[in-house]
Subunit: 407 residues, 2 copies
């Protein structure tokens, strides 16, 4: 008899964005004349940079002729892209990451979801709260958690991100094996300093733990005060895997390209306590279960590192940061306390009361869509996330409407 993986039954309905969509749809049906402004979902709104489009076009033409056509490529990604990443995202900042450490994929979602397959079933995981739900859900599916109880799974160490710690979680008091971190954070927009991150790396060394570092929003960091990669911390190459994406840096959410860094020195242990290197294991996983990213998409991604590509992606992220600064400024003026919106496209707002009620109020009274914080975890209650991904005029108008409510 074919039996299911019963761990799936522990999963809670992933209702956050579908519930938002349902409420927005109902509102629009009953208020067809109202212009709804969406600052909810974390999806970019502006076109791909022209440099990426040019490279994309050229590669599509290559696929049109037998003598330039490309079939299966290397599962790990083409050398032209892996080398461009190593040179520009790492060597240029004096971080020693080799092309062989880099695995190109179709999304940081897939990679952060799949990486847990490399580890033992009884791995003790630590996951921030609030959090991008993929980290938790994929561990539920794999059977590493217990049941859902009072808004949390058992057998998970939750790392609370609260006003008290300025939304940067403290080191866990108990021993954990696998730690998920994300900075600049989704959903809070909080950032981490070199010293704070170094404390996590030290924890990983002291406890033979591993850090999974989601740096998908690193492209929003400005200046040199904050780390853009965990490998800026000494020793991190032994104890951390890093996830990066072209989604938020170059608008690839619908085009699909990302990469994961598993340095050659990165290690775990077998049941005898002997060191096992994770680069070889991830390579085996990647080549067995994945067949590489679409060739024209890899060419488009590599164009991010051309001189024009760098200028254009900077312009793009600057634009969204401009929106974020505007939201930050207006909401602060209205008296809200908040974090994020600097070095991040997200603003995490403290509110009074229930976050779904606040969501409904903004929708019904201002026709503005945000994301209720409780959808990201228990610590998200009493907060909402405002996203800077929209046009300038939409952001200005949304702030005007919210201002009319609260001032």
């Amino acid at each position: 008899m074919i039996r299911i993986n019963e761990n799936y039954r522990k999963l809670q309905a992933s209702y956050l964005f579908s519930e938002i969509a349902r409420r927005v749809r109902r509102f629009q049906e009953t208020n067809p004349d109202r212009d709804v402004i969406k600052l909810g979902i974390g999806d970019v709104t502006r076109a791909l940079p022209p440099a990426c489009i040019d490279a994309f076009r050229t590669a599509v033409e290559e696929m049109a002729a037998d003598d330039t056509f490309r079939g299966y490529g290397p599962e790990q990604g083409y050398d032209f892209l892996r080398e461009a990443i190593a040179t520009n995202d790492y060597a240029a900042r004096s971080v020693d990451i080799h092309p062989d450490d880099i695995f190109v994929s179709d999304g940081a979602k897939c990679d952060t979801a799949n990486i847990q397959e490399l580890f033992a079933c009884d791995t003790r995981i630590a996951i921030p709260d609030p959090v991008y739900p993929v980290y938790v859900d994929t561990n539920v599916m794999a059977g590493r958690t217990g049941e859902w109880n009072n808004g949390r799974y058992s057998n998970v160490v939750y790392l609370d991100s609260t006003p008290d710690n300025n939304y940067v979680p403290d080191l866990p008091r108990e021993k954990v094996d696998l730690i998920y971190l994300c900075f600049p954070n989704n959903p809070t927009g909080a950032t981490v300093t070199h010293d704070q991150l170094a404390a996590w790396v030290r924890y990983a060394f002291d406890n033979k733990a591993l850090i999974l570092y989601d740096a998908a929003y690193a492209c929003y960091i400005r200046g040199d005060s904050l780390p853009r990669s965990i490998y800026e911390i000494d020793g991190a190459r032994e104890v951390a895997i890093e996830f990066q994406s072209f989604s938020k840096s170059a608008g690839f959410t619908g085009t699909r390209c990302a990469y994961t860094v598993v340095p050659e020195a990165c290690r775990a242990y077998d049941s005898q306590g002997d060191v096992q290197f994770l680069n070889a294991m991830w390579n085996r996983r990647h080549t067995t279960k994945f067949n590489g990213v679409s060739y024209p998409v890899q060419r488009a991604a590599a164009a991010v590192y051309s001189a024009e590509g760098k200028r254009q992606t900077r312009e793009l992220t600057d634009f969204y940061l401009g929106n974020a600064a505007l939201i930050r400024d207006r909401m602060s003026t209205m008296g809200f306390s908040l974090v994020g919106g600097e070095h991040s496209p997200y603003i995490w707002l403290r509110i009074d009361g229930d976050s779904w009620e606040f969501f409904d109020r903004l929708l019904n009274e201002a026709s503005v869509v945000v994301t209720p914080g409780s959808g990201f975890g228990a610590c998200g209650e009493g907060h909402i996330r405002i996203s800077a991904f929209n046009s300038r005029s939409a952001v200005v108008e949304a702030m005007r409407r919210i201002g009319a409510l609260f001032q």
Copy 2:
């Protein structure tokens, strides 16, 4: 302490295509003047159909302007593609598959690799031999097999495909839960009749088993005598999941698009023996661990179903079938017994002795690369696979050279 998934240590080195590449490289280094013809790897060689290129180009231009740009799409695929698949690959052949049953992905490799996650750890699996190695390896990683011993994993029911059964395996004598089938087969090129497939569907009903049907080569079937989908068999929608791909039908090996069909009625059981529907489970898996296929790629794939796209992909597969017929004819004339090459781009040749020795002889004496059968499993020994994916002139020349050796 972070411990690895120890199942990875059971995996055998996946050396088949890397070992072929190594031997070919060495041969070319020592014989730089010899023109090597590759009929080894199963990768297409001809350009994307013009209809796909046109749609690809148009979609790239959409990504270049803010008002036509697409961000995150539905993880399951855009409706325009799911509907085109349902209409053309199913309804047109009177098979009742709905768009909601179809999950667009970036490759049949990923889907056949990931599908096992839905099932219990102690699922008893049946896998053909010879076989595409992904089916076995992904179950090894998940811990469903025992150790490797004498060329096979314990706890796997191998379905022998041999000259005695004309390379279509018999039903297992023992009870199994999950059955992998692939027709037209990779690597043998063998095909299955409606009656043979109906017997497997009956087995699945009788034993509450599930069939995973890899139909990536269905586009090479000509005429109406053979099933192109398992859903042509009555009742299969309850007991089978099907995998299809644009790789071999429209040359998408480097462009990446495929789809998996999990009909609404398709069922497994929980530990209480109650029915659980797999469409909802796969939907949960797909939306949690995957973010959809690149929008321009989905547009290119949908163009396969336009009038020109149908004509052009037919022309493309006809071309490779022409190569296959030529190989079949010439090798038969030389006195080899073989299967495949009709309704399939692969020819599976019986040879005397060791398949790596035969590989070396063809490489050294004819400068022709094929694939040694033993790389696909124990039953592959004494065979080689010849692929029809090359230009006509290369195939003609390869046959001339091999003919000079054996006639």
